[in-house]
């Protein structure tokens, strides 16, 4: 009858054990289902000539590492300290003030202390101190040093693939320590041992070979766009004629392939096609798509600097081959981090192109005169400002819109007002989310940096909670039913997030709304938007 001796308090305590009060170094790693992504497929790893391609499973004890894996990590660590001042400085100067601790969406959503940005970085710093600093060698654990072990490595893998490299913590850090930078380095080190996740490894292998993450072959890419041509014709009566791999075109257009294949990004893609048709008919703008450089996104950024460069090189190579004047980039988050902060440095200079000028307005894009790549929101904002687009805002009256700043355009570029200007000119109902959840303080979708897999959905739902919570607020307060964004990963990640947390909100892209509002010569009267949803005031009418 021992049960009777237990107090009710203890009974409940049996169901809910208080978390251990040990230090973080002594808390063992527990790889939980729903929180991790499947291991990289060895065929993908091999096809890129990346190290240690073999089948492995993170849940098994043996990760099938090379004998000398500790040396590989040590040498790789040292090499990166010597090559990146950012890494070296960020390893040294953190004072652990805790300002970043509660800024991470994964910490806010999961409550796991190791998701505090400072601790995520300490996972690497503890090894740095042990291997590369005098104090660490002498005082060991007292100064936060520890030896590299298999458990530490597993911890790296688990938590570095629970960071979306969104840079929100770096905004609040008094020294600008950027966890994204630390995660990037950590993932590079893991990749030296063949420890990637498949949601990243297979897309980069595909991208390398076919030009896009999904492995779409050139003819299929064209088929897809042809399919949209039919849809557009049905809705507007207009036949658009996208051009492919056209030599001598004025502008090469590159956007993430996600928008070509996955709903609801496909509607943004249709938006681009209709928009380019308008610009061609009215102003003779000559835009070409490419099947070789058919991917704007770059999962190489989530693997290593070298991989990023390998994949990114196609953009300039294709621009050179086709002889275009400059490149126009579609809506994508991390793609724009790569373009804004890495592309020209890695794969420039670009003397084979011209400094970008809008042929329609004559505006010089001074801020892009070296990379020669302009964001489509910048391009469109300029056209609207000069009154070059014929827009009927009321065609978006059925949408009550809020705007999600994607992490990279916000914190690695600063493109905040251009999309807002466009939104305000193409729709009548726009509402901002609370100020500490937008612009440079925007919350991540929870699925960036290659974490948009299916098996880690719990992680994604937790990570996206702060974003969803702010959407829920404007949904309840203003009846917002549309979450707009300028990122293809957002368009893949936010719909399930909304379905779980705020089911009445749909996700769309900026240029989907632009195309909805665009008045095109010779079009039929529009009764539906690009999705086939009736426009405001047309709900009762029969759709022909």
């Amino acid at each position: 009858m021992s049960d009777e001796l237990l107090k009710p308090d203890e009974l409940i305590a049996n169901i809910e054990p208080a978390p251990p009060r040990k230090g973080w170094m002594d808390t063992p790693i527990n790889i939980r289902k729903g929180m991790y992504c499947y291991a990289s497929n060895h065929k993908s790893v091999a096809s890129l000539d990346l190290p240690n391609a073999r089948p492995w499973n993170p849940l098994e004890d043996d990760w099938k590492l090379p004998e000398n894996w500790k040396d590989i990590i040590f040498n790789g660590f040292r090499e990166r300290l010597d090559k990146f001042r950012s890494f070296k400085v960020f390893m040294d100067i953190c004072v652990r003030c805790g300002a970043c601790a509660d800024k991470c969406h994964f910490f806010i959503g999961s409550g796991d202390p190791k998701n505090m940005p400072v601790l995520r970085a300490e996972l690497l710093r503890s090894i740095y101190r042990n291997d590369f600093t005098t104090a660490g060698k002498v005082f060991g654990k007292m100064v936060g040093a520890r030896e590299m072990t298999m458990d530490v490595l597993k911890e790296w893998w688990y938590y570095l693939f629970q960071c979306t490299e969104c840079r929100r913590c770096s905004v609040f850090c008094p020294y600008g320590i950027d966890t994204a930078e630390i995660t990037i380095m950590g993932r590079e080190l893991l990749n030296l041992l063949g420890l990637n996740i498949d949601w990243i490894a297979t897309p980069i292998a595909n991208c390398n070979r076919t030009g896009n993450h999904l492995g779409i072959q050139p003819h299929a890419f064209k088929d897809m766009l042809d399919f949209f041509v039919e849809d557009i014709e049905e809705i507007t009566g207009i036949t658009v004629e996208p051009q492919y791999n056209k030599k001598g075109a004025d502008i090469l257009f590159i956007t993430p392939s996600g928008d070509v294949f996955a709903d609801p990004g496909t509607y943004t893609c249709m938006g681009y096609m209709l928009y380019f048709h308008f610009l061609k008919e009215k102003y003779g703008l000559d835009v070409t798509w490419s099947t070789y450089a058919s991917e704007g996104g770059n999962f190489g950024l989530f693997t290593s600097h070298e991989m990023m460069k390998r994949l990114n090189s196609k953009m300039y190579a294709e621009a050179k081959r086709l002889g275009v004047k400059w490149i126009l980039g579609g809506e994508c988050g991390h793609m724009w981090r790569v373009i804004n902060q890495y592309m020209d440095t890695m794969n420039g200079p670009t003397d084979f192109m011209e400094e970008p000028v809008s042929p329609i307005t004559g505006t010089k894009f001074e801020n892009a005169k070296s990379t020669k790549m302009v964001h489509i929101a910048e391009f469109t904002a300029d056209l609207i400002k000069h009154g070059k687009l014929d827009l009927d805002k009321s065609r978006n009256d059925h949408l009550k819109v809020t705007f999600h700043d994607s992490c990279n355009p916000a914190r690695a570029m600063g493109m905040l007002d251009e999309p807002r200007y466009v939104i305000n000119n193409v729709c009548n109902h726009f509402y901002e989310m609370p100020s500490n959840t937008i612009r440079e303080q925007t919350f991540c979708c929870g699925s960036g940096a290659g974490l948009n897999a299916g098996e880690n959905l719990e992680l994604r739902m937790m990570g996206g909670l702060p974003r969803a919570n702010a959407v829920k607020h404007v949904h309840e307060k203003y009846g917002v039913n549309t979450l707009s964004c300028v990122c293809a990963i957002d368009r893949a990640a936010l719909p399930p997030l909304m379905e779980y947390w705020v089911p009445e909100v749909e996700v769309n892209g900026l240029h989907e709304m632009v195309a909805n509002a665009l008045i095109i010569p010779g079009e039929n009267e529009r009764t539906t938007d690009l999705r086939g949803e009736p426009l405001a005031g047309m709900e009762g009418d029969d759709v022909e």
Partner: protein
């Protein structure tokens, strides 16, 4: 053992060593008053130079500022010139605000409305205030100490003393900065111990410098207001140190040596610890670079060619299918 107790005990032991040593005999005064300070200064200078050269040796391959405001794009869109600088001047302003006013940390500091409409701060919001008080008072105290190392004392130092000591209650006048320094350091310490989130991430090496600085400030206050150290004697020793004619003075008591010894420890500690953040901030690539890498090409000194899948290889893979689909090809 608790991290902070360990650090506290370490500081107390260090202080006792100096006190007992200096009070017991004359020869340790040479050790604590001359040898150790010189040694510490040497280690500090060499260590700091080594660290900074170490950072400087690693290149900045990419331009990766954290952009915290609107970029410069179209002429009619208002750029956030400080939080998202496009020019070198903008970067300077951003850095000045960062270094002198802890601008990023300030983003943390928002007063919030509670349900009843009452404005409140919680402890965490005071981090910026505490940090400002601590660092600025430290600087003032440090500058004030120049009076012990200069002869004649420069006018600006005398002026600083007058401002710092505007409260006169008896003699000697009270220097606010000393007390503010203690208050700031104690706040940062308490915060570290009390907020579980921060305690969880804190290492012994985070508590140690705080105890050390509190120890230094308290011994300083003790000397000035209570044991009334022989200022002339103290200045003699310190002037001797900086003019390389070291000597010791008979009228100086143990507290002075404790003070000097703890300062020496701090000097030695700085280059090997996170206290290098004062230099590191200037090297932080997310803050000290302009966001203009689309307009001005940033050069990576170790940029190397990589293996790419070229268009020709791509066309070789898919030529048939491309021709069939009507896509233009290079080689028919």
């Amino acid at each position: 053992m608790k991290n902070y107790l360990l650090s506290l005990i370490a500081v107390i032991v260090l202080a006792l060593i100096a006190y007992v040593g200096a009070e017991a005999a004359t020869w340790p005064q040479y050790v604590f008053g001359i040898i150790i300070p010189y040694l510490a200064m040497t280690i500090f200078i060499m260590g700091t130079i080594r660290k900074i050269l170490g950072w400087a040796r690693s290149p900045v391959p990419f331009r990766i500022p954290s952009t915290c405001g609107q970029q410069k794009s179209l002429p009619w869109i208002k750029q956030s010139k400080i939080d998202n600088p496009f020019t070198f001047f903008g970067v300077i302003v951003r850095m000045v605000l960062e270094v002198f006013l802890f601008r990023s940390l300030f983003r943390n500091t928002k007063c919030k409305m509670s349900k009843g409409g009452k404005i409140f701060f919680d402890l965490e919001k005071w981090l910026w205030v505490g940090a400002i008080v601590f660092h600025w008072s430290f600087l003032v105290v440090l500058l004030r100490h120049l009076r012990f190392f200069t002869n004649p004392v420069p006018g600006c130092i005398q002026f600083l003393e007058q401002v710092d000591g505007f409260i006169q209650i008896g003699l000697p006048g009270i220097f606010l900065s000393g007390f503010a320094l203690v208050a700031g350091a104690v706040f940062l310490l308490v915060r570290r111990i009390v907020i579980p989130q921060v305690r969880y991430i804190s290492l012994a090496s985070d508590y140690f410098p705080l105890f050390l600085i509190i120890g230094i400030a308290l011994t300083g206050i003790l000397m000035r207001y209570f044991t009334k150290v022989d200022i002339v004697g103290a200045k003699e020793i310190l002037m001797g140190l900086v003019t390389f004619h070291p000597s010791i003075s008979a009228n100086i008591n143990g507290i002075f040596y404790v003070h000097l010894f703890l300062v020496s420890i701090l000097l030695v500690y700085i280059p090997f610890s996170k206290l290098m953040h004062m230099g590191g901030i200037f090297f932080s690539p997310t803050r000290n670079l302009a966001n203009n890498s689309r307009a001005v090409r940033h050069i990576n000194p170790w940029n190397y060619p990589v293996k790419v899948h070229t268009y020709d290889e791509y066309e070789d893979d898919y030529r048939e299918k491309m021709i069939e689909a009507g896509l233009p090809v290079e080689k028919e």
